[in-house]
């Protein structure tokens, strides 16, 4: 399949957008803005997916990430010490090392992407979403189910960790190691 020039343009444009917005995540002053730049990056990637004939997945990604980032924003406003996550802030450490690591990762992976030979077997024309559905309920059933169990597990785990109140009152009540010195405890 030979992508047309439009595809090239779109992919390049969204690609630049995804990278730039990703970069801005860590360049902005406010956590809230960071969250929105992250969302932009995701949306750009989602758009690239759509260009690459994976419309279904692209849309899912855009929808999901919009939702997630909204939650993240709310979360920050609700919980974090940086009130409303709106105040300007830069909180970084080991900056040099991080830049080296980031650039290094980029260089290595880009090198792999550009230099390495990958098989040339483009996607055949057809409804990719149908193929996905068949895969999902066929060969990769187990993967799908496992992912479902994982989602269940994370729900249980997240609630267990984050809930402040449980059915039995304060969720934090007694959630600690047993006292090593029982007698002291009895006396007190």
């Amino acid at each position: 399949m030979n992508p047309g020039p439009l595809s090239y343009f779109l992919v390049s444009a969204f690609g630049v957008g995804a990278v730039v917005s990703g970069w801005l995540v860590f360049r902005t002053d406010s956590m809230l803005r960071a969250a929105y730049w992250l969302m932009v990056s995701f949306v750009a990637v989602g758009a690239m997916l759509i260009v690459l004939d994976a419309q279904f997945l692209g849309l899912i990604l855009i929808l999901m990430m919009s939702g997630e980032m909204t939650i993240m924003a709310i979360f920050m406003i609700l919980f974090m010490m940086n009130p409303a996550g709106l105040n300007p802030m830069t909180m970084v450490h080991q900056h040099r090392t991080s830049i080296i690591a980031g650039v290094g990762s980029f260089v290595v992976l880009a090198f792999v992407g550009v230099v390495a030979e990958f098989p040339d077997r483009p996607v055949p024309a057809g409804d990719a979403t149908v193929a996905l559905g068949e895969e999902l309920l066929g060969r990769s059933m187990l993967v799908f189910e496992s992912a479902g169990v994982a989602l269940l597990a994370v729900m249980i785990g997240a609630i267990a960790l984050a809930a402040k109140q449980g059915r039995f009152g304060d969720a934090y009540d007694g959630s600690q190691e047993p006292s090593i010195d029982v007698e002291t405890e009895d006396r007190s």
């Binding site: 450490h93 080991q94 090392t97 690591a101 290094g104 990762s105 290595v108």
Partner: protein, 637 residues
């Protein structure tokens, strides 16, 4: 049967020990045991018995009573009877007497085993047991810290010689797979040389030849009967005995004869002068023992073992007599200093007995000792004119010191009263020995040569007329010289400067040399090695551990602080260094100090800051790990 001469004193010793509650019984028993031993020995000697005792495997203890052994096996208990008899009656109520008697008895057993041994293992057993027994005997008075030390010196010196037997035994075993004397004949020349070397070493050490002679001085720390026994037919005799016994085979080794003669002649001359110069009666006698054994070695080296055997027998008799009488002198006057004794007037009968011994020592005919000495001289001349002349000189020396000793110890003198006159039993023992010494004069009778040759199963050479005249002349010269010196009152000092005399009397400085060259270096080496062991070897292990500890501490910091911390640390140090040099530039020396101080403070802060153990360091480590993994997987395929 053949074991009787060993078993009798061995079991007898145990009986004496069992009787220790009654001193009297023990004393009597000890003499009886010795008499029984003499009887047993005589019986065995007449039967020429042999026997073996298997130790399993390839080890058999073989014994046989043959050759000179027949004489020796009897001679040892005979002299021991006298000595033990002397010892049993000599001391008053003394609880340790039993121990002494038992040790003496067992000592005889060990010596008898040595004498009847027919293979190197048995020989070695007897040889070492004799040494160990001598340690017990010399160190008898153990409460005095000096005596055990002397005993140790004596034992260690002779044990060094024992190594020779070990080597000889190993060599014959390697060569033939057997340890028997009989198989020596089958040994190849190379191994035989090693065996000969080992035996000569062992014999030289045991018979107190140069350079081992000084141990005899240490042996003087023992009680008198011990010295008497040690220096006559036992212990010292072992060296000469084994050479006499094995000379026929060993002489096949080219260097055997010259080396043995050389050792013997050197010792005879050096020892003679030591004796002459000695101021202490017992030590003088000890020196003369070395010298006399030197004469025997000359005879062995020359090939006339019968002469050596004869000399050994004669010497055993008169030397035990001399030692015991020296003991009487010590008891009587409380000293052995030759310048203070002169007990002739106080103890005339003892003086006569001592005189008999001294005459024998001086080789005055018609005593047996004179006969054997002339045989030795003849043999020496046979070996070479210079050997002969040297031996003659040694003979002159023996005449000189014998006469000197007699004059100084038991010559007429001012001493009238003595603390402890000899007891009757002691006198009997002395008399017996003197009688035997005199009895040996029978050798002068026609056929004396033949008796010796038969007794020793070896050769003897009759002296030529010239040799006889020479030796008699030397005896006369010697006696005259002593008489002159006596007259002039210079017998004690011999007209020599005191230091020279002390040097010679102290065995030509050999003990000092041995201490400086061997004993001290070895013990210092031991100390050094110990220090090295503690401080180096043990530390190596410790330092490996310490290194691991250090690495782990560094790592512990690293893993928690993150690899990043190192980079920071190095970077920080570089910056600090640059900063410091700048400051130094700006503000001179003061600034440098300030810079250092602030640098250290900053470094401390820096390290505190980096010692956080934060999760982002985990991240850094992971990324580095990823890179390294890629590198490894790429490079090492």
């Amino acid at each position: 049967m053949v074991w009787l001469p060993v078993l009798t004193p061995l079991i007898g010793g145990a009986i004496i020990l069992a009787l220790r509650r009654s001193q009297m019984a023990a004393r009597v028993a000890s003499v009886l045991v010795m008499v029984a031993t003499v009887a047993a020995a005589a019986l065995v000697a007449s039967l020429e018995a042999t026997g073996t005792w298997s130790w399993g495997g390839q080890l058999d203890l073989a014994v046989s009573v043959t050759g000179f052994g027949r004489t020796m096996v009897v001679l040892v208990p005979v002299i021991a009877t006298a000595v033990i008899g002397f010892a049993a009656t000599n001391s008053e109520d003394d609880r340790s007497i039993v121990k002494l008697l038992v040790a003496l008895t067992w000592f005889v057993a060990a010596m008898e085993l040595l004498v009847i041994a027919a293979d190197f293992l048995t020989l070695l057993i007897g040889w070492e047991l004799v040494g160990a027994a001598s340690w017990v005997l010399i160190g008898h008075e153990w409460r005095d810290p000096q005596r055990p030390r002397s005993a140790r010196e004596a034992f260690v010196t002779t044990r060094f010689g024992d190594l020779g037997i070990y080597v000889a035994a190993g060599a014959i075993f390697a060569a033939t797979g057997s340890l028997r004397y009989d198989d020596l004949a089958a040994v190849s020349p190379g191994w035989l040389a090693i065996i000969a070397g080992g035996l000569v070493l062992a014999a030289a050490a045991k018979s107190a030849q140069v350079p081992f002679s000084p141990w005899l001085f240490s042996a003087m720390a023992g009680p008198t009967p011990v010295s008497a026994l040690l220096h006559s037919a036992t212990m010292v005799a072992a060296g000469a005995y084994i050479l006499i016994r094995l000379q026929p085979t060993l002489s096949a080794v080219g260097w055997f004869s010259p080396v043995v003669i050389g050792i013997g002649l050197t010792t005879a001359l050096a020892g003679g002068m030591v004796t002459l110069a000695q101021q202490d009666l017992k030590k003088a006698l000890a020196g003369s023992t070395s010298a006399q054994y030197g004469l025997m070695l000359i005879a062995v080296g020359a090939g006339f073992t019968a002469a050596a055997a004869g000399q050994l027998t004669a010497h055993a008799l008169f030397k035990s007599l001399l030692f015991l009488t020296a003991g009487v002198a010590l008891h009587a006057s409380g000293t052995l200093d030759l310048s203070k004794l002169r007990l002739g007037s106080a103890l005339p009968r003892v003086a006569v007995l001592f005189g008999i011994g001294a005459l024998a020592l001086a080789a005055v005919p018609p005593l047996g000792a004179a006969f054997t000495k002339e045989a030795v001289l003849a043999g020496a001349f046979h070996a070479g004119i210079w050997v002969g002349l040297g031996t003659a000189a040694a003979g002159l020396l023996s005449t000189l010191y014998a006469a000197r000793l007699h004059m100084l110890a038991y010559g007429p003198g001012p001493t009238r009263d003595v603390h402890t006159p000899p007891r009757r039993g002691e006198m009997v023992a002395l008399g017996g020995l003197a009688a035997l010494t005199l009895l040996l004069g029978v050798l002068w009778l026609p056929g004396g040569d033949a008796i010796l040759e038969r007794a020793a199963e070896g050769a003897i050479l009759s002296p030529t007329r010239a040799e006889t005249i020479l030796s008699l002349a030397l005896v006369v010269v010697g006696l005259t010289a002593v008489a002159v010196a006596w007259r002039r009152g210079r017998l004690v000092t011999l007209g020599m400067p005191a230091r020279t005399r002390a040097f010679i009397a102290g065995w030509w400085g050999i003990p000092t040399a041995a201490r400086v060259l061997i004993v001290d270096p070895v013990s210092r080496l031991g100390k050094w090695l110990f220090i090295a062991d503690r401080n180096v070897l043990a530390r190596i292990a410790d330092s490996v551990a310490a290194f691991a500890e250090y690495t782990s501490r560094v790592l512990k910091r690293l893993v928690e602080r993150g690899i990043d911390g190192v980079v920071w640390g190095i970077g920080g140090a570089t910056i600090q260094g640059a900063e410091m040099s700048r400051l130094a530039d700006d503000r001179g020396v003061d600034g440098t100090v300030e810079g250092v101080a602030s640098g250290i403070g900053e470094a401390g802060k820096q390290s505190r800051r980096t010692q956080t153990g934060m999760s982002y360091h985990y991240y850094t480590a992971m990324m580095i790990g990823l890179v390294v993994a890629i590198a490894v997987a790429t490079l090492w395929r």
